[in-house]
């Protein structure tokens, strides 16, 4: 009797379904990879499927976190994949030109050059969207298309291979036995959560996403907020670009970050942020990105034939989206649950108890 309301409160939590899907996907792997959950020490660092998922998923988490804020303002950023390619291309071509590729100063300067380029892309997107009033999907499409060309221009259409140990750390190296990228992701997520939940910034972003004009009228500088989120999103994409190029020690202008914008948008949606803007959930996005990465790994490990990869992926995504839809859950689970509730005798006291936690919960959701 006491577990039912608690269970219902749990299932109503906005992270419940994404986390449930993530756990289900992880469990699916076990029959195919018996020691899927085992993590062992190899060459002084942790090694295992879970570590791989986080390592290869890090760039997607970063891009998706940036995307979350853009989507929260009611926008969208299609240019992140191209920004990934540009950042990687600039950084690697700078490093490859140096005689001592292992010098720390060289690596920091190169990363700085790459990230500045990312910020410039973000400023451009923000300028077009907020100042010129161009539809975000069109404004960011420009860099999505042209940016990859810029990246190819920088690399001459070649794959640039570098041999820099310090640069290898950020996306492919290990620190304190864990992939270094985990620390980068943790830092970015922590800073984002702090800025949006411990200051008024998150509220302002949500308010701009809810109604930009009304926000402006109450005194919120919605233009500035919008430009800020596009710059932040591009910066996240830039860091992801560093990771991707560092992971393989090579910059590939053609393929680095290809279609990552779509995976990132999907991660945001799976995480429960609505594309219409307004409320957002950083935690949900992180889980959403992990769901997508786990799905990719699952496809590789359970031996889905290559021709059916995309169909399999689509089928899982459809299931996830349906589970996320309150209307669908109402239709499928709702009827059964109400029947279960009326069957046992103490149905009367349960219903008010279940209803009781509802008002306070919605208020916490608003404040979140």
């Amino acid at each position: 009797m006491t577990t039912t309301p608690r269970w219902r409160a749990l299932t109503r939590h906005h992270l419940f379904w994404p986390v449930a899907v993530l756990i289900a996907l992880l469990i699916v792997n076990v029959p195919f990879t018996p020691d899927f959950f085992s993590v062992k020490m190899t060459d002084g660092h942790l090694y295992g499927s879970l570590v791989s998922i986080v390592l290869f998923g890090s760039p997607l988490i970063l891009v998706a976190v940036g995307m979350t804020l853009v989507i929260a303002t009611g926008g969208i950023d299609l240019s992140v994949g191209a920004v990934v390619a540009i950042t990687g291309a600039l950084t690697c071509s700078y490093i490859s030109d140096q005689t001592d590729q292992n010098a720390l100063s060289v690596v920091f300067l190169a990363m700085g050059v790459g990230l500045v380029a990312a910020v410039v892309c973000g400023l451009w997107n923000g300028f077009l969207v907020a100042r010129m009033g161009i539809q975000p999907i069109i404004a960011t499409l420009i860099i999505m298309v042209a940016g990859r060309g810029v990246a190819q221009l920088i690399t001459d259409g070649q794959i640039i291979t570098i041999h820099s140990e310090p640069y290898k750390l950020i996306g492919g190296g290990y620190w304190l036995t864990l992939p270094f990228s985990i620390f980068v992701v943790a830092a970015v997520v922590a800073v984002t959560v702090l800025l949006t939940r411990r200051t008024a910034l998150g509220l302002l972003v949500e308010s701009v996403g809810g109604n930009a004009e009304a926000s402006r009228l109450v005194g919120i500088r919605s233009t500035r907020i919008k430009i800020m989120v596009y710059v932040f999103c591009a910066l996240c994409a830039g860091i992801a670009g560093l990771m991707i190029s560092s992971n393989t020690s090579a910059a590939d202008g053609n393929n680095a970050g290809l279609w990552i914008e779509l995976d990132a948008i999907l991660a945001v949606v799976i995480g429960g942020t609505a594309l219409t803007g307004g409320r957002f959930s950083i935690g949900g996005t992180v889980v959403g990105a992990l769901v997508i990465q786990t799905l990719t790994t699952t496809i590789y490990t359970i031996g889905v034939p290559t021709q059916t990869n995309l169909v399999f992926k689509a089928a899982v995504v459809i299931v996830v989206c349906l589970l996320q839809s309150p209307k669908f859950r109402e239709k499928v689970f709702g009827a059964r649950r109400s029947r279960n509730l009326t069957d046992p005798a103490p149905a009367e006291p349960v219903l008010p108890a279940a209803a009781a936690p509802k008002p306070p919960k919605t208020s916490t959701e608003v404040s979140r």
Partner: protein, 334 residues
């Protein structure tokens, strides 16, 4: 207002002048080929684009071979667009070049422009990739690689690699496929399987096979997953060097030695692949040669001399084992 108009006029004037100059240049070039008698052939070549190191090496090879043979080369880059390529071919027809050669961007949609070339009596040679046409007589020959044969050669060279390593017991192969649906991916898998089914049906087995999209990042990620689900893999066959290079990093992260614990055979032969092979991390590379310039010039001469040619002239390619890597490395151009 006035200044702006002046500026515009000046800009238009400059552009027109530049255009005229360009035309004059083109005219000068093409006029000296008939003037030079029958000795200097003019070859119009339309390249796909410059998407990879392989392609750049391919372009350079055509350019330098044309120079060596003393042909006049008209080179254009289609930037991956069929319409660019069609207009380039039409230009060559208008300029009355002696032979047209091109690497088609896509397989279909060439009939109209190839008929125009035929009507103008200009022979067409395809390089690297083939086309589908209703009329076989629309092109003379194709100079390019046989991807199925590359797959067969990969399997053959794997026999040697296993021999050298003194491998005993079952051979558990992981295959990294190219982009799903791409001709090289399909045919390299097919050729490999052919030899495997014929000669090694009982001791070789492809335990996992998945696309790595021909990229390093793809190869690394897929291989990392393979090593988890099938830790007993002892051979890797990658459809290109880049996926193999990515996979090497995943193998190292798993605490295994690429080239020793897992024997690696790749296709292509780019420079980075040869570097990895000279370090002992790749065991064998099946070359897919982009340096078909000299062969193409040979074909062009034969076409002009009216010799009969085969429909498909296969690129001269070789296979490399580890001990050849160091010697071959300095001569790798791409």
């Amino acid at each position: 207002m006035l200044t702006r108009r002046n500026f515009l006029t000046a800009a238009v004037g400059a552009a027109a002048a530049a255009g005229l100059a360009a035309c004059a240049k083109e005219d000068g070039k093409s006029s000296d080929s008939p003037g030079g008698g029958s000795k200097t052939l003019t070859l119009g070549f339309s390249q796909v684009g410059s998407e990879s190191g392989w392609r750049t090496a391919n372009s350079d090879s055509v350019k330098s071979a044309a120079k060596e043979s003393g042909y006049t080369l008209k080179f254009s880059d289609a930037q991956q667009k069929q319409e660019n390529q069609i207009s380039a071919i039409r230009n060559y027809i208008a300029q009355k070049v002696d032979v047209i050669a091109f690497s088609p961007v896509v397989v279909t949609g060439w009939d109209a422009v190839l008929k125009e070339a035929k009507a103008a009596k200009i022979p067409v040679v395809l390089t690297d990739r083939s086309v589908e046409t209703s009329d076989e007589s629309l092109y003379v020959t194709l100079v390019g690689s046989d991807f199925t044969d590359e797959g067969r050669r990969a399997a053959k060279i794997l026999e040697k690699v296993l021999d050298k390593a003194g491998h005993k017991g079952p051979v558990k192969i992981a295959q990294l496929e190219g982009t799903t649906g791409a001709a090289p991916a399909i045919e390299r898998a097919k050729g490999f399987k052919e030899v495997m089914d014929a000669d090694h049906a009982d001791d070789w087995k492809i335990v996992v096979s998945q696309t790595g999209e021909f990229t390093r990042a793809g190869g690394k990620q897929v291989m990392a997953a393979f090593l988890q689900s099938n830790p007993d893999i002892n051979v890797l066959y990658a459809h290109n060097d880049d996926m193999g290079l990515g996979a090497i990093q995943a193998i190292e992260a798993a605490g295994k030695k690429p080239g020793k614990d897992i024997l690696i055979v790749t296709v292509d032969g780019v420079k980075d692949g040869f570097i990895a092979m000279s370090e002992g991390k790749i065991n064998a590379i099946v070359e897919c040669n982009p340096l078909l310039g000299p062969q193409l010039m040979d074909v062009v001469q034969k076409v002009k001399d009216g010799e009969k040619l085969e429909r498909w002239i296969k690129t001269e390619e070789s296979d490399f084992l580890q001990d050849q890597a160091k010697d071959a490395l300095p001569s790798r151009k791409y």
